[in-house]
């Protein structure tokens, strides 16, 4: 009796479907990826049990660490209008190139006085500039006040929405700095804002 012949089938698996899925996922992740913006100064944010997510548009952030404040606002169009407002306020003329450079700037980490100079630098030169942050004090006329004010105006103009403001503070930051910022915000009747925290499990 002849032995049953084992059919010699190819062991190669058809990879087409797997390849399709892999690339589909890859496309999804590439498109949904948002480049992580590196903060100019490190802030170790406190943890809380809040689960409310942060808005991604119509949103401004105040990064507070080492006694400095760094201002940033989402959206290139809003940024442009904000800078135009600031230019009017401080009587500084920005060239179209500078306006364009500002649109691509993630955050405002230098005082308004040197911003023009800062915008004309290359990325490498910018890295070497000391990040002194936006000037803030308890007077009515501090820079942060005008940044926030103009950003709010700009957002109203461009998107017709209320700008949401959040404070991202370092855990070790002393309260007086925070109090100064809160006072500045309250001067323009911003009584509601967010505090950015990381998630921690509630200790039951």
């Amino acid at each position: 009796m002849p032995r049953a012949k084992v059919s010699r089938k190819s062991t190669a698996i058809d990879m087409t479907a797997m390849c399709d899925v892999a690339f589909l996922l890859l496309t999804f992740f590439i498109l949904s990826a948002k480049p992580k913006v590196e903060d100019p100064i490190h802030a170790d944010i406190p943890a809380s049990t809040t689960i409310q997510a942060l808005p991604e548009v119509d949103f401004a952030q105040l990064l507070v660490a080492q006694g400095k404040v760094i201002f940033s606002v989402e959206g290139a169009d809003v940024r442009l209008e904000t800078l135009k407002g600031m230019a009017d306020q401080y009587k500084i003329d920005f060239t179209p190139e500078e306006l364009k450079a500002f649109q691509g700037l993630d955050n405002v980490s230098v005082p308004i006085g040197v911003l023009k100079q800062y915008l004309n630098m290359t990325n490498q030169e910018r890295a070497g500039v000391a990040k002194t942050g936006v000037q803030v004090d308890t007077t009515d006329n501090n820079e942060l006040y005008w940044w926030v004010k103009n950003a709010r105006k700009a957002d109203k103009l461009v998107h017709n929405k209320e700008l949401k403001i959040a404070i991202k503070g370092d855990s070790k930051e002393e309260y007086p700095t925070i109090a100064k910022i809160i006072k500045t915000l309250q001067k323009q009747k911003v009584n509601k804002f967010g505090l950015i925290t990381s998630l921690k499990a509630a200790t039951k």
Binding site: C19, L25, K36, T50, L54, Y175, L195, L199, K204
Partner: protein, 178 residues
Amino acid sequence: MAELDTSGGGKHKGGKVRSKKASTRVDLTAMVDLAFLLITFFILTTTLQKPKAMDLTMPDKDDNHNQLPVPETRTMTVLLGKDNKLEWYMGLPQKPLTPPSVTNFGKAGIRESLIEQGKNVLAKSGKEMIVLIKPSDKSTYSDMVSMMDELNIVGNQQRAIVDISPMEVDLLKRDNIY
């Protein structure tokens, strides 16, 4: 499928149509490897956990005429001192209804007092307790956030962040947490 049809187009010089025997399948293994490698990279680099924001509403400063008198029996004042310590009392600083006591954050600390006093106030007046948070200059941002978080955990909505008074600073100094 992914095979390429290379058998056709038989316009060879010799006029002989030769069908190739070799498999025309493209080996996709390397390509899949690469795709998964990139997927892994993107999964790991994207920030999966978006930052969370805690809402903070401050009392309106200009509406002085609108302020309601706060019954002292319903008021709990929490003073934030240094080294993540805090001090709390009920009522007014001049004549507190409970002696000011120093405690810390967390389950066994302020949360216990918040729950206990909250119940007392609710039983006496039928209303929610009002919590005044007074951060001193020696407290940190994380203290403020922790305190707000404790109130969120116990579900207290009646709260405000208020400036500290010199008398309360003295109280903190007395208890060595300023």
